[in-house]
Symmetry: C2
Subunit: 347 residues, 2 copies
């Protein structure tokens, strides 16, 4: 087991960050596929619970235990941006939440700073790829490092990994059900619950944000649509340029009208080429009862990819949880580690 | 455009082979993603329409035109096995049909012969991976070449490419609807047609074999299940060891009984770990009307993958045609070409 640890700056140590840390340490025995991956943080920054910095690197399991026992870390000894510029590390792992009003900041600047330093950047935050995919991908290419964000859309379901799997094909259009909270809320509306009650349930189950407007107004879906359009259709758009209608205005009557026609309401994301440009939309649609979209229940998600060569290809996920998001980050870290291995072999 | 052509021995020049040739020549302008791929055959063998051999390589477009104008090639000047052993080529492209009674032969021996010569082997034939995956994968590894068969299951939908995309995960179980003809026939039974009439329609549409028993008795599905079990679950089984029940005995009454309960009959393939071994089955199942399996219609297919880390992941395809099968072969050829590029860069 010649795994050389990846030295990491971790930003964000909430549910996903701690789950990632647990999977790589105390839960590691459950996941034989992780044998080749080791993460050695040189810094861990949290949103509101301090930070810990050790330029020599620290044991991830020790850090996790310390966090849990103390309910956080001490006050941060330096800023995230200073850490990204001054410390020696292999990869930034950015796990802070999306901020639409700040146009993807501060995650975007952190990813840019890491890439500028010639470090890899892995993020579960949708902001960087939704607001600056083209710039950051080009910067990474120029620096010879990776900018990866598999968990930003459909958690660990291999969405972005499909591009190389579909080599030779040109993507023409995308359609998906990508926001968990709205899909869950609509399912509850179908059972006669109110939007408010459904949102409270989603919050209690831990997957809706404290402020649900990001989900209900379609911003999360718009961010994902922008990323997909940028990545698969070579667009250069951001969530503000996605034509967006959320589900905040929907009620029992809308759901019942669809059901009476054998259909289901879904918040559908779309992106496609039209007259040399790329259009992207997020809006509630009535989908046919026998369509794959209608079978996306609860927290599930689905993405339909049309190419120039084949009938449509679908990737879907069923019942994802925290581990699924962490798994997307892990896939990215394994890609970074494999590339590093390749570099060494090439030299 | 520095594409160095892949020198190929093509075996099988039926619908898929000719579609592949057309996509790489006369239809090339439709597919900008193929710019980097060029195939230069040193030999093309057909099943019953002769062969053409030119050790210096020939233009694929010329060969296709010659075949179409003459209704075939001249009598074969040498055997396939001699060609595989004596000619200089980069890759065997094996497109002959599956033969269960011959346990995957003669395709299996052809793939073995190519790999033994240190050539890559790409096949759309299910036989080699269904009957000898472990041996051939190990042989390829030892020789430093690729043994690829993306189109053997779900055509060009990236099934086998998912293994690297799901890096870090260990696959626990697979379930799929993988045989086009039976799925199409059951759809027709639901509309009140007889099995015989439905099979005739499938034959007329060009996707059922002249002898439909391979499909109806579940052999095609069993071969695909064996490949998936061998590839994803490290099994070492073949189609004869898949517990198999086809749809030959089904009739309108079975379909109607399922429909009355809001369910649909589907021929479902399964493989999973059980007590340290791998079990694999093919059998008709009644699936719930709201399940993704129920939404697989006509020629569509779906595969559900359970891993140790995430909720189930699905890959599906909608309305595949000849180009989809050719696209799977193209993906494999691009992987071979990329690897060759990598080798050169490494040196």
């Amino acid at each position: 087991m010649s795994k050389k640890p990846l030295r990491a700056v971790l930003v964000g140590f909430g549910n996903v960050g701690r789950k990632l840390a647990a999977m790589l340490t105390e839960e590691r025995d459950r996941y034989p596929g992780l044998a080749e991956l080791a993460l050695r943080p040189v810094a861990i920054f949290t949103g509101r619970h301090g930070a810990i910095v050790n330029p020599a690197g620290m044991d991830l399991g020790d850090a996790l235990r310390w966090y849990k026992e103390g309910g956080g870390f001490p006050a941060a000894p330096m800023t995230v941006m200073d850490a990204l510029r001054l410390l020696d590390y292999d990869v930034l792992v950015e796990l802070s939440p999306l901020d639409i009003a700040q146009r993807g900041e501060p995650a975007l600047s952190r990813v840019r700073a890491a890439l500028e330093q010639g470090r890899h950047a892995v993020t579960a935050n949708k902001g960087p790829a939704a607001f600056a995919y083209r710039e950051l991908a080009e910067l990474a290419r120029r620096k010879g490092v990776r900018f990866l964000f598999e968990s930003a859309v459909m958690d660990g379901a291999p969405v972005f990994a499909l591009r190389s799997a579909l080599s030779g094909c040109r993507v023409k259009a995308l359609a998906g059900i990508l926001n968990t909270t709205t899909n869950f809320v609509i399912s509850r509306l179908e059972r006669g619950e109110s939007i408010e009650a459904a949102v409270r349930t989603a919050q209690r189950l831990g997957f809706a944000e404290a402020d649900p407007s990001l989900d209900l107004e379609g911003w999360d879906a718009a961010a994902k649509t922008a990323i997909l359009a940028n990545f698969f259709l070579q667009a250069d758009i951001d969530p503000l340029r996605v034509e967006r209608r959320g589900i905040a205005g929907l009620g029992a009557a809308d759901v019942a009208r669809a059901a009476a026609a054998g259909r289901r309401l879904k918040l559908v994301c779309r992106a496609w080429r039209e007259n040399g440009a790329v259009r992207a939309t997020v809006a509630p649609e009535e989908v046919d009862g026998g369509h794959h979209f209608a079978a996306v229940n609860g927290k599930g998600a689905a993405l339909r990819i049309e190419t120039d060569m084949m009938g449509p290809i679908w990737i879907m996920q069923e019942d994802p949880g925290l581990a699924d998001t962490a798994a997307g980050v892990i896939q990215d870290l394994l890609a970074v580690a494999a590339g590093r291995q390749g570099e060494k072999n090439g030299k």
